[in-house]
Amino acid sequence: MRNALGTVDTVLLLGGRSEIGLAIVERLVRDGARKVVLAARERPAESDGGPAERLRELGADVLAVDFDAARPETHAAVIDAAAEFAGDLDVIISAFGVLGDQARYDADPVAAAESVQVNLAGHVSAGLAAARRLREQRHGTLVVLSSVAGVRVRRANFVYGAAKAGLDGFAQGLGDALHDSGARVMIVRPGFVIGRMTAHLPRGPMPTTPGAVADAVVAGLREGRRVVWAPAALRLVWVVLRLLPRAVWRRLRR
């Protein structure tokens, strides 16, 4: 249960190797979360001092489960396994995704479709399965890692951006569907995040880090926010960017 001061007991991370996701979980555990489920495609070896071990050192009970975003038929079972281990799920973080490279997608339409399978369809099946559980509990928050890339899709990464735009819309609709259920959805829109996923890219404007995004998410959870931009100033930046004429927008390099 989320307590009076916003501390939660249990967390499920879908995308158990996501840097942002793990940074959020680590903060929640430091604040008092006791049970964590890490759901990832390749389970990290138990012995190599991976994320599960780090979280255990911080005092959490950790369960690692197999999760493949591209196999929607397995998603409900992942949620059930997490609830079996942790009881009520106070926070579910949907953080999996692949960035990919637009030039490669231009050349390989199948790879492009597969990335959308993960970045959008995977979130739809996992998100709906999570929502069913939260609706039964009548409390809990689904945190959806969207991106500013989906706020207005850019030429430079429009396959990724289109999937995030779809995801953002899905998350908004799901949040509305859960209204009055006691459960809620929190949408996170980070800007350019310096990390493993973007290591090969030139740094974007107003860059942020997984830790800074996680700080914003944890503060947002405590305050019960519905949308979190990271950094917060991006909200205003994107008010302007959304208004740029198409002819200017098209010419943006990134």
């Binding site: 009881g87 009520d88 006691g182």
Partner: protein
């Protein structure tokens, strides 16, 4: 033909207005309805709720059923020969006092508000200003009717282990349907009260100990914003029920008419209670109290329930609500009390109602809060930065000293602290499992604390 009790969807929180959750709120009409609700308990279980005065999540049950016991038809019968009353669980102490005081009887124990139900008073084993003399509410209960998980209405007395698991059991052993408890005979509806200022915490403790020997009711208000040599200064109130002779001839002795209630507006912004306003209030309150003890005659309501004159006073903390932190440390652990008070004062915790009380012996109930020692209760706005970590630090100190926090006030304790604070937790769990093997009685508090 019987129909199911009416239910509706409700968003419920405790008195602190933090962490609300949603549940089906059922309005039972009689004992048969209570049994029907238990029989049809959903997978997420059910829990009784009275007037919602528990500060945290004790009477919430996300996704399950919450039984609104205050909806039960209020019935009570007074047995003057035995000096006891039998009341249905949803009867409030307010209603009982209105009926009983004019007849010369008073409830054995009243907390800081009259707006609690008999069922809630038992489930939280509430205490009052007379704990050192009269123990807690459960000590006065002679029998109670409990609808258990099997749908049976069992009549329990102090000889039954389930009786004591129900006293202080936070509603998790079943639905209390009615109870019989002893009353205090009174000659008047007034209190002979004395107030006096104290210089610092040691002075407060010394005067409290002395006052407990001579008065039935004692309590101290502490100015938590006073620091340095004045840390722990406060105002002590002692009192007893006034005798007929204490009143001027011709005054009606047993009238009881608590004044009409002011109401807090439905919306108030956060931040009204800040260091400035609370410091101003504390200075005023302290200065108002006499330097030397002074006796006054006052009605029951302002003596016991000053906050009841403002309806919905919990709204003054704004939309984010507040938490109440109440702990007890055993006699002999005064050093821990001193350190906690100093720590709160040093952190500048804005609590405008900080109350200190000395407890006497407790009841045999394994989950009951009081133990011989000192209890301190404070209200803190939930939005105070760093509050979670500060209270966790205090939990550790309190547990290390052999003390505990009060579950009826709690909204944020960690489950792993519970076994140290309540060493008889396993004994309680065993009795509860025996009466409710499938865990039909569930609350958000029970989930949060693995009760």
């Amino acid at each position: 033909m019987t129909t199911d009790p009416p239910t509706r969807d409700a968003r419920l929180s405790g008195w602190g207005r933090t962490a609300p959750t949603r549940a089906r709120l059922a309005a039972p009409r009689d004992l048969a309805d209570l049994a029907a609700l238990v029989a049809k308990a959903p997978p997420r279980g059910l829990i009784a709720r009275g007037l919602g005065r528990s500060y945290g999540d004790a009477a919430q049950n996300a996704g399950g059923v919450v039984v609104d016991c205050a909806a039960l038809p209020p019935r009570w019968t007074l047995d003057e020969r035995a000096g006891e009353v039998t009341a249905t669980a949803g009867v409030s102490l307010h209603d009982l006092m209105r009926a009983l005081v004019p007849r010369g009887w008073f409830v054995p124990v009243t907390p800081g508000t009259r707006y609690v139900t008999v069922g809630g008073a038992i489930a939280a084993d509430v205490h009052g200003k007379n704990h050192h003399a009269d123990c807690s509410f459960g000590a006065h209960v002679r029998s109670l009717t409990l609808v258990t998980a099997d749908g049976r209405a069992r009549v329990l007395g102090p000889g039954d282990p389930l009786f004591w698991a129900t006293v202080g059991g936070m509603g998790l052993t079943g639905l209390i349907a009615e109870a019989t408890f002893g009353l205090i005979p009174i000659e008047t509806s007034r209190m002979r009260a004395e107030t006096e200022r104290t210089r610092d915490l040691d002075h407060t403790l010394e005067l409290m100990t002395a006052a407990d020997r001579s008065h039935r009711y004692t309590v101290a208000w502490i100015d938590l914003l006073a620091t340095g040599a004045r840390t722990g200064r406060g105002v002590i109130t002692r009192g007893d029920h006034a005798r007929r002779d204490d009143l001027p001839r011709g005054t009606p002795a047993l009238d009881f008419a608590p004044g009409t209630r002011l109401a807090a507006p439905p919306y108030l912004p956060g931040g009204l209670l800040n260091r400035l306003t609370v410091r101003a209030f504390n200075e005023l309150w302290y200065a108002r109290a006499p330097r030397r003890r002074r006796a006054t005659i006052q009605p029951i309501a302002p003596f016991f329930h000053p906050l009841d004159s403002v309806r919905d006073w919990n709204r003054i903390y704004g939309p984010r609500g507040f938490v109440q932190y109440q702990f007890v440390v055993p006699t002999g652990a005064e050093d821990t009390l001193r350190r906690v008070v100093a720590r709160l004062a040093e952190r500048g915790v804005v609590s405008f109602l900080t109350v200190l009380k000395r407890f006497g012996a407790g009841t045999p109930a394994p989950l009951s809060f009081p133990m011989p020692g000192w209890t301190l209760a404070l209200d803190i706005p939930a939005g105070l930065p760093g509050l979670a970590a500060l209270l966790r630090e205090l939990d550790e100190r309190v547990a290390a000293a052999g003390g505990r926090v009060y579950l009826a006030k709690d909204a944020r304790l960690r489950a792993d602290m519970l076994p140290a604070m309540y060493p008889r937790l396993d004994e309680w769990r065993k009795i509860r499992r025996g009466a409710d093997p499938d865990g039909r009685f569930r609350s958000d508090l029970a989930r949060r604390l693995d009760l």
